[in-house]
C-alpha cells in the first residue's frame, strides 16, 4: 500500500497542479471569475476600475477540511467578507439561484450533496478548524446539477493560525451588466495579467470540459495503476508459485495430462488469481484513494470519481487477459523444455 501511494504521488501531484490551473466552475453570463493567486487591495481596485465592472467581490479560495455532522469532508471554500456575501448569487440550475445571504453559507446541488452525504433541507452542523461552528442548511436544488458552493467568513479565515496573510485574496468574482462586457473584462484582465487564470463566459465551456477531462484522466490513471499493481504483485506471485510448482506440473504431465489439459488448468488458475487480485487491488485502491485525497487536499476531483475508477479498471481487462494467455504460453514453452525424468527424480 505504501509503495502504491508513493508511486501514485507524481500522478496525484500532476493532477493537483493541473486542477489548480483550471480551477473554475460555472460562470453566469454576466460574471467573470479570476483565479489570481495573489490579489491585494490594489489589485481589487484595479479590477474595479475596468470598464463595465459593476462589482468586484474578492475572495480567498481554499481547500478546507470541514466537519459536516461530525464527518470529515474536504471542500473548496470561498471565504468572503460578510457584507460581500449578501451580494453573491449563483445559478445552481436552469432557473434556480443560490444566494449566501447572511449566516447561511452552504449550497449544494443535488448530486454534490449526495456525494458528500449532505442532508438536503435539514439544519446541518458545520465546523472548520479556525473558522468556528455554524449551522447551515443545504438548499434543495433538485435538478441534476452537481455544483456546490461553500462560503466562509474571510476575517475568521485570516485569523486562523497558519493561514495566508490578511488582505491577500486569490480569487475574485466580477459582476458585469451584460455578457459582452463580461467578455471584454475577461480579455482586459488576461492582457494585463497573463499569469492570472480568467474564466470568462466564452472560455467557460472549455474549462469545464478540461476539468471534467482531468477527472476522467485521473480515474483512468488510477484504474490502470490498480491493474498494474495487480499484475506486478500477483504476476510475481504467480511466476514464483508456478516456478515452485513446476514439479507438480511435470508430475501431472507424467500421469497423462496432455499439454492442452495443462494449459487449460494453468489458464483457469491464472484467471482466478488475476480476477481475485484485481478485486483486492480495487478495494485497496479505493481505501487508499480516500485518505490520499484528503492528504493532498484535492480540489475538483470529487469522491464520485472513485466510482469511475471501477469502470476505468474494467477497460483494461482485455490486456490483462492477454497477459494471462502469454504467461500460460510461456509456462507451456518452459514445461516443454524440462528434462522430465530428472525433474521427477529431483527433491524440489
Amino acid at each position: 500500500m505504501l509503495v502504491a501511494m508513493v508511486a501514485s504521488a507524481p500522478f496525484v501531484y500532476y493532477f493537483h497542479i493541473k486542477d489548480r490551473e483550471t480551477n473554475t466552475l460555472r460562470i453566469e453570463s454576466t460574471m467573470v471569475r479570476v483565479n489570481a493567486y495573489s490579489l491585494n487591495q490594489t489589485g481589487v481596485n484595479e479590477l474595479s476600475g475596468l470598464p463595465g465592472v459593476q462589482e468586484v467581490i474578492p475572495a480567498v479560495l481554499a481547500n478546507t477540511r470541514l466537519s459536516i455532522d461530525n464527518r470529515a469532508v474536504y471542500e473548496s471554500v470561498f471565504y468572503v467578507s460578510s457584507p460581500d456575501m449578501s451580494k453573491l448569487a449563483f445559478r445552481m440550475g436552469l432557473n434556480e439561484f443560490a444566494s449566501p445571504g447572511t449566516g447561511s453559507w452552504l449550497y449544494f446541488g443535488y448530486l454534490a450533496a449526495q456525494n458528500d452525504g449532505i442532508p438536503i433541507g435539514k439544519a446541518t452542523s458545520v465546523t472548520a478548524t479556525g473558522i468556528g461552528n455554524a449551522i447551515a442548511t443545504a438548499s434543495d436544488f433538485t435538478n441534476s446539477d452537481s455544483d456546490f458552493y461553500v462560503f466562509g467568513d474571510v476575517d475568521a479565515y485570516w485569523a486562523a493560525p497558519g493561514h495566508s496573510a490578511t488582505g491577500v485574496y486569490n480569487y475574485a468574482f466580477i459582476e458585469a451588466s451584460n455578457s459582452s462586457e463580461a467578455n471584454a473584462i475577461g480579455t482586459a484582465i488576461s492582457n494585463a495579467h497573463p499569469n492570472w487564470s480568467v474564466a470568462s463566459p466564452s472560455a467557460m465551456s472549455g474549462l469545464v470540459a478540461s476539468a471534467t477531462g482531468t477527472q476522467l484522466q485521473f480515474a483512468v490513471i488510477m484504474g490502470i495503476m490498480s491493474w498494474a499493481f495487480g499484475i506486478v504483485v500477483f504476476g510475481t506471485y504467480v511466476a514464483r508459485e508456478v516456478s515452485a510448482r513446476s514439479k507438480e506440473l511435470v508430475t501431472f504431465s507424467a500421469l497423462g495430462a496432455s499439454k492442452r489439459q495443462l494449459k487449460l488448468g494453468l489458464a483457469s488458475y491464472l484467471l482466478i488469481i488475476t480476477v481475485l487480485g484485481a478485486i483486492v487491488g480495487l478495494v485497496i485502491n479505493f481505501v487508499l484513494a480516500l485518505p490520499e485525497y484528503e492528504v493532498l487536499a484535492f480540489g475538483y476531483v470529487q469522491p464520485k470519481s472513485l466510482s469511475t475508477l471501477a469502470y476505468a479498471s474494467a477497460l483494461v481487462i482485455g490486456p490483462v487477459l492477454l497477459l494471462d494467455i502469454s504467461i500460460v504460453l510461456l509456462l507451456q514453452w518452459r514445461l516443454g523444455r524440462l528434462d522430465m525424468m530428472n525433474f521427477l527424480r529431483s527433491e524440489v
Binding site: 500421469l255 521427477l344 529431483s346
Partner: protein, 226 residues
C-alpha cells in the same frame, strides 16, 4: 497363424539411442517387455537407467532407434496419444514419490483417473479399493506431508495402478525407504507381476535387482542382459 497373432504385444525397444547435444547417454539399447515380465535394470548413478525408463514410459523421445507398444510406433505419437499412453497403458513409481502436496492421499490416487475422464463414482470407489490394496485404508483424507516415506511410496504404487496399466516402471522405488518398507514395496511389485502386469525396475541395488526374473546391466549407456 492370423495376422493378429503376428503382432508383438507389449513394449519393444530396438537399437534405441539417446544423446543430449554431444553427451551420448544411451547406445543401441534393445529390450522387450511383455505382460507378466519382471525386469530389472541395474547400474550406477548416471549410467542411463532413468533415460531408458523415460523413453519406455513416453516421457522422453529417443534420438534414434525404434520404440513400439503393441506394434505402434511410440516415437510417432503426438502429444495427445503420448499422454493417453502415459495415462492408461503405463504407470510410474518414482524414487521421490512425487505426490501432489496439496491433494489428499485419496485425491492423489484419483488424479490419473480424473485425467482419463472416468466417472466420479468409479474414481472414488477405485481409489478406496487401491488404498486398501496397499494397506492405506482409512488414510485417504491425509495430506502427503502427514505420511511417512514408506506410506507415501505405497500411495504412489496405488496411483500407478489406478488406470490398470499393462506396464509399471519403478525408478529407484526403494532408495528412500528403510528395509521394512523396501520389502513391502517389492512384495507389491511381485504381486503385480503375478497378476499379469509387467514391471520394469531401475535400481543401483544389485540385491534388489536380483529379485526380478530378467536382469539387465547398464553402464555408460550400454544395456546388456545378465
Amino acid at each position: 497363424m492370423s495376422r493378429c497373432e503376428l503382432v508383438m504385444k507389449g513394449l519393444v525397444l530396438d537399437s534405441v539411442s539417446k544423446a543430449y547435444d554431444s553427451d551420448q547417454v544411451l547406445r543401441d539399447a534393445s529390450l522387450n517387455v511383455a505382460g507378466g515380465d519382471f525386469i530389472s535394470i541395474v547400474g550406477p548413478s548416471g549410467s542411463g537407467k532413468t533415460t531408458l525408463l523415460g523413453i519406455m514410459g513416453g516421457l522422453e523421445k529417443a534420438s534414434s532407434g525404434r520404440v513400439e507398444f503393441d506394434a505402434e510406433d511410440l516415437t510417432a505419437f503426438d502429444d495427445r496419444k503420448l499422454s493417453v499412453y502415459r495415462n492408461r497403458r503405463v504407470g510410474f513409481i518414482h524414487q521421490m514419490f512425487n505426490l501432489i502436496p496439496f491433494l489428499k492421499t485419496s485425491e492423489n490416487v484419483m488424479v490419473p483417473m480424473v485425467i482419463a475422464g472416468k466417472p466420479a463414482h468409479y474414481v472414488s470407489s477405485r481409489a478406496t479399493e487401491l488404498l486398501e490394496f496397499v494397506g492405506m485404508k482409512g488414510k485417504g483424507d491425509l495430506l502427503p506431508r502427514q505420511l511417512s516415506g514408506g506410506e507415501q511410496q505405497r500411495v504412489a504404487v496405488a496411483r500407478a495402478l489406478s488406470n490398470e496399466p499393462e506396464i509399471i516402471f519403478a525408478d529407484e522405488p526403494t532408495a528412500n525407504l528403510d528395509e521394512k518398507n523396501e520389502r513391502v514395496i517389492v512384495e507389491y511389485l511381485q504381486k503385480l507381476v503375478e497378476s499379469g502386469k509387467a514391471v520394469v525396475l531401475a535400481t543401483h541395488d544389485v540385491a534388489l535387482a536380483q529379485r526380478a526374473a530378467k536382469m539387465y546391466a547398464i553402464e555408460e549407456g550400454v544395456l546388456n542382459e545378465i
